[in-house]
């Protein structure tokens, strides 16, 4: 009796497995490997869809981007609130990795390591990645943060309850709770300037053009040109956030 029962259930198991595999094969023929492909889908609307490009090789670490951002967006001046900041990565010959960002880079950088000890060093400007599949907007319990139709992740500061779920959800550390307004705050890609046709403050002031922004739908635009001419990578691609901030020259040490 016992053996018979086992073989029966084994047969049922094989039948179910075969049916599942068959169904998967058929469905993947209909829509090839959709589940496996990590892509960022464009929303189906009109108008611009903003993307950002940062060229690490062009960044000279002057910190003017971080400085102008604080002034433009009235970010609290305490040294731990930033919408945008610059980090200096230093890899020494003995393999130690040092990452510094004194006051977000606002006052510039001074290297203390002796030059002969340095294997490699570079600046990494950071800001909101304006993800197409942003983890931060998905966790908001009240709908106070959202992706705008033109692909900018914004905050509704009148509606935010300051629960800080989004702050811990952002894998790039781009959000903070505003100490006076008690609501979440973050880079808006200077939405108020974008709408007037002006560049965001950090990009307006960048002396080398290391930061650029552009319409990802404009096939002759500056962003598509940037993506064509450089080998770009996003931060933490494994998280599949659909980041629209593309870095040129992203070294493997950068997190």
């Amino acid at each position: 009796m016992g053996t018979k029962k086992i073989s029966n259930s084994r047969r049922a198991f094989f039948k179910t497995s075969a049916a599942l595999v068959g169904a998967l094969a058929v469905s993947s023929l209909l829509d090839p490997l959709k589940a496996l492909v990590i892509t960022t889908e464009e929303p189906k609307n009109e108008g611009p869809w903003w993307g950002i490009g940062i060229d690490i090789k062009k960044c000279i670490g002057c910190g003017l981007c971080a400085k102008s951002c604080k002034a433009e967006n009235h970010v609290p001046i305490q040294p731990f609130y930033f919408r945008n900041w610059v980090e200096q990565y230093t890899i020494l010959n003995d393999g130690t990795l040092k990452v510094i960002s004194p006051n977000g880079g606002i006052d510039g950088f001074k290297t203390n390591e002796p030059k002969e000890d340095i294997f490699k060093t570079f600046f990494v400007p950071k800001m909101c990645n304006h993800c197409a599949k942003s983890p931060c907007t998905q966790v908001c319990p009240v709908g106070a943060t959202f992706v705008s139709p033109d692909g900018v992740v914004l905050i509704d500061d009148k509606y935010c309850i300051g629960c800080a779920y989004c702050v811990q959800a952002c894998p790039y550390g781009c959000r903070y709770i505003h100490p006076e307004k008690k609501v979440a705050d973050k880079c808006t890609l200077c939405y108020h300037r974008l709408k007037k046709g002006l560049a965001p403050a950090c990009m307006e002031i960048c002396p080398t053009g290391a930061r650029i922004y552009g319409d990802l739908r404009d096939k002759n635009g500056i962003m598509i040109k940037f993506l064509k001419e450089h080998d770009c990578q996003v931060l933490k691609p494994s998280l599949n956030t659909g980041s629209k901030l593309n870095y040129n020259g992203l070294s493997k040490e950068i997190r």
Binding site: L64, E72, G143, D156, K158, I205
Partner: protein, 151 residues
Amino acid sequence: MPPQLKVLLPLFAIIVVVFVVIRHFLVPVSFGENGHYRANSLIDNANKEMVYASKKMCVECHADIGEKLQSDLHASLSCVVCHGPGLEHSNSPKTVQIIKMSGRDHCGRCHAINPARLKEAVNQIDVVEHHKDKKDCIECHNPHAVWELKK
């Protein structure tokens, strides 16, 4: 109709009505027009006040300087790099003076030697030792045309 329903149905109807009324007052205006957020928040975000001017605004009046800048190494610089936000000056040029930032600290932000700066990206100099007898960089260098050295 079962007798229980006679009591429960009106009760149920009252609950639905109360829910709809409360919902009407709790959901803010324009919520859900574009998605799960207040569509008017887009307008709020777009109406925030600017602080920084843009190069476009500056060259509307200062076309001569803009042209000069364009022909030299500082061509990629926006005026706000050395002149500060400048929007107030742009709005009322007669009453608000533009600021001029210079000196070894300000110029050194970009031009001080740092191993993380690529030589191709920016010219670097020892900003402390370079021509120690002079106080300010702009005593010799014209910031709008850096290689046009003053005597």
